[in-house]
Amino acid sequence: MMENKTAVMENKTDKGTKGLLVLDHVTMQFGGLVAVDNFTNEVKEGELLGLIGPNGAGKTTVFNVITGIYYPTKGKIIFDDIDITPLKPHQITHLGIARTFQNIRLFYDLSVLENVLVAQHHEISNPDGDRILLHHGKPAKNYQRFWLWRAITKLGYLKKEREMLERAKELIEKVGLAHVMYEKASALPYGEQRKLEIARALATKPKLLLLDEPAAGMNPKETEDLMEFIKKIRDEFDVTVFLIEHDMKVVMGICERIIVMDYGKIIAEGTPEQIQSNPRVIEAYLGKEWKHV
C-alpha cells in the first residue's frame, strides 16, 4: 500500500503517464483452461488503448476480470490506487469503470432515456461503493441515507430526479440520439443500439470506459462513424478508453497503443505501426488478414 502511494505521488506531476488501471500478473483459470495467463500491463490515464487477438485469445475474459464478473485465480487489479480485485461489479462501476458488451445488452423494454437514467441510479443507491471511496480518502458520489424512502415519498427527491433527467437528456443530445429519446431501445437500428450502449456506459460517469467489440456487425459506413464517435467522446467526456476490436481498420485507425493477446498471453505491445510490423503478431493473427489486402 505504502509503495503504491509513493509511486502515485511521483507520477502525479505529469498526467498521461500515470497508470489508471494496473493489471498485475492476472491469471484466470477455468478448470484446466488458462484463459488469461499472467497478464501484466496498465492503462494510462487519457489514452486510447486497444486489445486485439484471435478468437478465444481471452480478451473478453480480461474485461470480465476487470469488471468483477470473474474473480481472478491469481494477481491483482488496481484502479485509481484502489485494489478492485475482490470487489463486485456494481462497486467497480461506482468507482469509475463502465463497460459495454460484445453482444448488446440493453434494457430493451425501456426507452432510450430510461436506459441512460438507469445508469445514474448507482449514485444514489450504492452505499457500499461509497464506503470504499470514503475508505480510500476519495469523495463519495452521493453519500446520503434513506434514498429509497425519499424516492417513495418524493420528499427531497424530486430535485435529484430533475437533475438526473437533465443530465440524461444532455448526454443523449451529445451522442446524437435525441431524435429517438422516447423510443424503446428495441426499436433502434443496430448502429444506434451500439451507440446507446456507449451512452449508457458514459452516464455512469466513468474514468475508464471498456468497449467490447464496439464495431462488431457494423457496415463500413457505421464503422467509420463509430471511430469518429469514440474519438469524440474520449475528448469530450475526458475518459480513458480501453477497447477490444476485431476490425483492424478501427484498431489501427484510432488506438494509440495496442496490446496483442494469443492463448491468454500478451505476445506484443506497442504503437499501431510497431504492431503491424511485429513478426509474432503477423504470425498469430494479422498475417492471415493482411496477406489478402
Binding site: 464478473i69 463486485k88 461489479p89 456494481h90 461506482h94 434494457f107 425501456l110 424516492a151 417513495i152 427527491y157
Partner: protein, 359 residues
C-alpha cells in the same frame, strides 16, 4: 410528431378527481348494494392488493416468485391473532394456547400493519437463500417456503390452532378499509416504480448482467422489491382474513391455489402493469363469483345440465387460455392506464373511426 401532453399539475388534479369519483361510487354501492354484491366488491379490492404486490415482484422486478400465499398466510394469521379477543381465542383453542398469544390484542389497523411487517420479515429471511437462485429454481424454492409455512401453521397447534383454524374473526374488512388499503398500495408501489428505484428494478428484469454493470446492486434491489411486495401481501392477508372471518391452513384458502389465482390475475392483466393487475383482479373476482352458477344444475338451450363441482375453475382456465391466445402479454401488456395514454388511445380511436367514415 408533436404530441400535446398534459402538465403534471393537471394530471395530479385529474387523479384526485378520479379518486373522489370512485369514492363516491363506492359510497353509493355501500348504500344500495346487497350484502352479497358488497362482499364481491370488497374481494376485488383485496385481490387487487394481492395482485399489485405480486406484480411488483414478478412483473416489474422479474423475480418469478410463487411464494405469495406464504406471505398472505403470515399476514392473515398475525393480524387475526391480534384482533381476536382473548376470550374468543380461549374458546376456540381446544389444545391450549401459548399464554402470550392469548393476551395479545390490537385494533384492526395496527393488526394489519403488524401482519404486513411479519410478512416482510419472513420475506427478508427467506429472500437471502431464495434470491440466490433464478428462474425456475427460484419459483420452486419460493413455492417450497410458502408450503413450509402452511404446513407449519397446520401443526403448530398452540399458536395457530392447527387444522381447526381461527374462527369468528370480526368482519372488519368493510368497503372503506379494503379500498383504502388498495389506494395506499397503488400509491406506494406506483411511486416506487416511477422513481429511480423502479427504473432499476425494470432494468434488472430486462438484463441482469447489464444492470449489474451499470452499478446496480442486483441482490439488494431484488430483496427490497421482495420485502415491499411481501409487506403488502401481508396486508392483503389481514384484509382477506377479516373478510373471510375464518381461516385455516388448507391448500385452497391459503395454499398454492391462492398463489396461482393471484398469478392468473396479474398475467391476465399484463405482467408489469399496475393498472393491469387491478383490472385482472376485478375480472377474476367477478368471473369467479359469476361462474358459481355453473356448479348448480342449470338448463342450457333446453338441455338439463346437472351441477358439476369444479366447473367454474375449468371455465376460468378455458377463458384464460383464450385470452392468452389473443393477448399474449395480457390485457394491458406493460402499459399503464395513465391520463397520457388515455388521450393517446382515444385519439387513435378517433382517427380510426374517421378513416372508416371516409372509406
Amino acid at each position: 410528431m408533436v404530441e400535446k401532453k398534459l402538465s403534471n399539475k393537471t394530471k395530479f388534479w385529474l387523479t384526485i378527481a378520479f379518486i373522489i369519483f370512485i369514492g363516491f361510487l363506492l359510497w353509493l354501492a355501500d348504500r344500495y348494494f346487497d350484502d352479497y354484491k358488497l362482499r364481491v366488491l370488497r374481494l376485488i379490492a383485496i385481490y387487487g392488493v394481492m395482485a399489485v404486490s405480486l406484480n411488483l415482484i414478478n412483473g416489474i422486478t422479474g423475480v418469478f416468485s410463487l411464494g405469495h400465499a406464504g406471505f398472505i398466510l403470515v399476514g392473515a394469521y398475525t393480524a387475526s391473532l391480534l384482533t381476536l379477543s382473548p376470550e374468543q381465542k380461549a374458546m376456540s383453542y381446544l389444545f391450549g394456547i401459548q399464554p402470550w398469544i392469548e393476551k395479545l390484542h390490537a385494533d384492526f389497523f395496527t393488526a394489519t400493519i403488524a401482519g404486513g411487517i411479519a410478512a416482510a420479515i419472513f420475506a427478508f429471511l427467506i429472500g437471502w437463500p431464495v434470491l440466490r437462485l433464478s428462474g425456475d429454481y427460484l419459483a420452486i424454492a419460493s413455492l417450497g417456503f410458502a408450503e413450509v409455512v402452511r404446513i407449519w401453521a397446520n401443526n403448530a397447534l398452540s399458536i395457530t390452532n392447527g387444522p381447526l383454524g381461527l374462527k369468528a374473526i370480526p368482519e372488519y374488512s368493510n368497503t372503506w378499509w379494503t379500498y383504502g388499503w388498495l389506494l395506499a398500495t397503488v400509491v406506494f408501489i406506483a411511486s416506487l416504480v416511477n422513481s429511480s428505484y423502479g427504473r432499476a428494478l425494470k432494468a434488472i428484469r430486462e438484463n441482469r448482467i447489464a444492470a449489474e454493470a451499470m452499478g446496480i446492486n442486483v441482490f439488494k434491489h431484488q430483496l427490497m422489491s421482495f420485502v415491499i411486495g411481501a409487506f403488502f401481501a401481508g396486508v392483503s392477508g389481514s384484509l382477506y382474513a377479516h373478510w373471510l372471518t375464518t381461516i385455516d391452513p388448507r391448500l385452497t384458502t391459503m395454499g398454492p391455489m391462492l398463489t396461482f389465482y393471484v398469478l392468473i390475475m396479474i398475467v391476465l392483466g399484463g405482467l408489469g402493469s399496475i393498472t393491469g393487475a387491478i383490472i385482472g383482479a376485478a375480472i377474476f373476482a367477478i368471473l369467479f363469483e359469476w361462474l358459481r352458477d355453473l356448479e348448480q344444475p342449470f338448463s342450457f338451450f333446453g338441455i338439463q345440465v346437472p351441477g358439476i363441482p369444479g366447473m367454474r375453475i375449468l371455465t376460468v382456465s378455458a377463458i384464460f387460455i383464450i385470452v392468452m391466445i389473443f393477448w399474449q402479454r395480457g390485457i394491458m401488456g406493460r402499459e399503464e392506464l395513465t391520463w397520457d395514454n388515455l388521450i393517446k388511445w382515444s385519439r387513435k380511436l378517433a382517427s380510426l373511426s374517421r378513416k372508416r367514415g371516409e372509406g
